[in-house]
């Protein structure tokens, strides 16, 4: 009992500090009297019938207790039960159990158990028996990681979606608030139709509410100016919220925070308990930034809840939507306004400029910095091309292999990729070559004949390209390129007659002859790329050379043989670097 008394005493002290109520010793005496057993019945009776209840109020939990007590008060006021002496007898009968339960609770909280290894062995054995013991498998971690990633993604998406929706709602609500005409002082009920100005926070998607800081409420003036004559401690403790709508009827909107009728406030006709006023009027000092959170309808639940409770209720979350700056003053009329312009409204005469206002929450969005992607790929392909030399409808074979480097541009040219490639291109030709026959006449009247015949089969070119890719969609790209090509090697079959030795010499698969081919060319590429997977892409390229690939001196022809080819290939990404 002394503990209870001490607790209640502390609560009263704290409450007095908060409410700026001068503690009077008579308060304790009256409270003490109530706690006597002899007067317990009377107390219960009084409690049952009285409108006012003065519970123990813990400062730290003061608000909670007060509101909870207020709930009980409301409940009790609505539901009256006649006291029967059997109530007390039943209580006495169960007192021992209650005390024992309390004792066990205290014992459990105070008892600490030291861990011993054999505990694990026993537990392990038990788990094994139950089949709950699993050997660790690395795949579990991978799966768990997937789940975590998925969960994280869900949380992330949900969180920021809710933030965005909340911001939108606040902005809409603020605009709505601004759009309605405010005639009342507090700026809250500003519509001409006296509709309640509501700071509506709704939305079932809202699931996170935070109360970061304590909402500091001061309402000295409001209390003092209140015409309420209830300065008793009951009155101080009274914190019933009275909400009025157009008709002035009180209601609780579980999902709406509705503020008091301004007229009542300004006219001072508010009959509420000063504490109610204090609670209702969110008045803060200039140094106080109250973080007012959004309310989850679902979390509000019961319509009997005080909407202001809704404001202050905390739902587990880690995000803060924003900061609602409350510029507090010591003025009588505390208003909550979402727009400073409202204060300037001519209809709001009595609104003090320095009155409390709530600004729109700030949402800071970090700008995503564009990151450059560098990628290196192996490309290869095969195709067909035109036949050099004598005209033929039959195409000839082409092959290519090489490395391709691309970098993704940023900012304005997001769909463009720049890069280059180094390629080895193979060209196969059929029936392409030249032949020379020379007769040298001597002064004796004789003649010596020389000849050579070359059939060029395979040519290998080194190619360096500058590439530009245009991304049509995530999987489709158009490719444009221009580059230089140099003849590296040529394979041919050759036969010749040397005049000194008048016999035919044949050399097949010879890599020593490049005569008949021009070494340099400029090559244009137009292609299409389809991304099959993250690392594999399909390419279709058309190539066109600018210059004649053949040497007219050897071929003895003025015909221009440019390179034309179509190739189908694959591109495999080796690695990507993101910076």
């Amino acid at each position: 009992m002394s503990e209870l008394n001490k607790h209640m005493d502390d609560a009263f002290k704290k409450m007095s500090e908060d409410l700026k109520v001068t503690y009077d010793k008579s308060f304790w005496e009256s409270a003490k009297a109530k706690l006597d057993d002899a007067n317990l019945d009377d107390a219960f009776k009084a409690a049952a019938s009285a409108m006012e209840v003065s519970p123990a109020l813990d400062a730290t939990e003061g608000i909670d207790d007060m509101f909870m007590d207020a709930a009980f008060v409301d409940a009790s006021s609505e539901a009256s039960v006649s006291y029967d002496s059997s109530f007390f007898e039943e209580f006495m009968n169960q007192q021992g159990d209650l005390i024992m339960d309390e004792a066990f609770n205290e014992a459990s909280s105070s008892v600490t158990v030291d861990y011993l290894p054999q505990f694990w062995n026993d537990a392990d054995r038990a788990l094994r028996n139950e089949g709950l013991h699993y050997e660790y498998d690395s795949a579990y971690w991978a799966e768990a990681r997937k789940l975590l990633d998925r969960s994280d993604r869900k949380v992330f998406f949900t969180r920021w979606t809710s933030v965005a929706i909340a911001l939108l709602l606040i902005s809409f609500g603020g605009q709505q608030f601004l759009s309605t005409s405010i005639t009342n002082v507090n700026g809250i009920q500003a519509s001409e139709s006296h509709n309640e100005s509501e700071l509506v926070v709704s939305g079932n998607n809202l699931s996170e509410v935070v109360l970061a800081n304590e909402l500091k409420v001061e309402d000295n003036n409001s209390i003092n100016s209140s015409t309420s004559n209830d300065n008793s401690e009951e009155g101080l403790a009274h914190h019933e919220m009275v909400h009025t709508n157009d008709n002035g009827s009180a209601h609780n909107s579980g999902s709406q925070l509705t503020l008091e009728n301004a007229q009542e406030i300004t006219n001072g006709t508010d009959t509420r308990n000063p504490l109610d006023q204090a609670i209702e009027n969110l008045e803060t000092t200039n140094e106080t930034n109250a973080q007012i959170t959004l309310i989850d309808n679902n979390s509000v639940g019961s319509s009997t809840r005080n909407p202001l409770d809704n404001v202050i209720e905390v739902v587990e979350s880690s995000s803060t939507i924003g900061t609602l700056e409350v510029l507090g003053t010591q003025q009588t009329n505390s208003v909550i306004s979402t727009d400073m312009n409202l204060l300037n409204s001519p209809e709001i005469h009595s609104i003090d400029r320095n009155s409390n206002t709530l600004k729109m929450p700030k949402v800071t969005i970090e700008q995503i910095k564009p990151r450059t992607v560098h990628s290196l790929s192996v490309v290869g392909g095969s195709g067909i091309g035109n036949k050099w030399g004598s005209f033929s409808f039959l195409p000839t074979l082409r092959n290519s292999v090489g490395l391709e480097y691309m970098t993704c541009t940023v900012k304005r040219f997001k769909n463009l990729e720049l890069g280059g490639s180094l390629m080895l291109n193979h060209v196969k030709q059929n029936n392409f070559g030249y032949e020379d026959r020379i007769s040298v006449y001597n002064t004796y009247g004789g003649v010596t004949k020389y000849s050579r015949s070359v059939q060029l089969k395979n040519m290998v070119y080194g190619n360096a390209n500058f590439l530009v890719n245009h991304r049509l969609s995530p999987r489709h790209k158009m490719k444009f390129g221009v580059g230089f090509e140099y003849l590296l090697a040529a394979n041919s079959n050759m036969s010749f007659i040397d005049g000194k030795v008048q016999q035919v010499t044949i050399v097949n698969d010879n890599w020593g002859v490049k005569e008949g081919l021009n070494k340099f060319d400029v090559r244009f590429t137009v292609g299409y790329e389809y991304q099959l997977t993250n690392t594999l892409a399909l390419q279709l390229n058309t190539n066109y050379g600018m210059f004649d690939r053949t040497d007219d001196f050897y071929l003895k022809s003025d015909e221009k043989n440019v390179e034309i080819g179509v190739m189908l290939g694959l591109k495999y990404n080796l690695f990507r670097l993101v910076r």
Binding site: D436, V507, N510
Partner: protein, 350 residues
Amino acid sequence: MRKWSLILALVAVVTSCKKEPLPDLPEANTPYYSVSGYVDGEFVDMNVGQEGIHISQGVSEMNGIPTFYGQIISPNENLRLRIEFTRPEIVVSSAGVSAFDLSNLGYLVHQPGCKTFSFGSNILQGNFVQVAVESGIFNQQNEISFDEYGKHEVSFKFTDIGQNSFTIPIKYGFENTMLNTGFTTSPNQDTTVFSANDIELNHEWYIDGTWVSSEAEFGMPLSIGIHKVEHKVKDTHENEASHTTLIRITDFVLDWQLGLNPCSGTSNSGSKYGKVIVTLWKDGVEYSSVHLNDNLSNNFSVSNIEYFGVQSMPSRAAFEFSFGTTLMNEDSGDSLSLSGMSGNFNIGLQ
């Protein structure tokens, strides 16, 4: 290690590939020798080295006179063209070798001619002379007729001595004028003195085929009878000429030296050294320029002469030519006109 092995393998593959370079071809040229023109209005173009056409060259003789020739043969066309030059009297001079007598170049067209012979102061000897030309029949005559130019072998019999014949070459149309091979003989008691007309030359005397002296003048006793005397001369450039005649020794004293002179009423036809003879064989029929007097007025030009071989005595001479001529078959009398003929030709000098 693996990386180096891969690199070495790649290098080995690259280096092991066959790399035979493209053989260089010499610069082509046009045929060195060719003849083109119109043969009886039909264009002929023969390029030595093409289509089996070939050329040959060398030295030959025409009626005992050395000639330089070259001929192009086209088997496909069954055509053979021979261009022949009589050797000039002087081939080598201080200016070098000259296979052509460009001052006397023209066609050689045979003209008949005759020579008479004399026996010095012995007037009666002519009554006992029988002459046979080219192993012909001996006739008693005091003059010799020739149908063609050349050096002919003429046989003499002196019936007052015996029946032996004495054959000496007699030049017709090729008398030496630049190399004087003439000489005189005079008795000196029982010796006969031989004196060359040109003492500046190198001399060689052969009596009855036996060398007897190299002096410009010498004397020696000779036996009674007819003796053949041959006088060879050479100039400083080794140009050679000879003259052969007969002398008679009677009672160990020189009786006479056979002399030859153009027949009366005939003129000297001029030297035929360095004349050109064009002969064409077409389809096996020979056509020659030597039988038509019209060719006496036709021109044959030679230019850009190039000699091959030893400089002192080259073996071949190449030249550009152009001519127009009419050839005739001696047997049938058919002729063949060659016009606008030109080209590059080659004759042998040895």
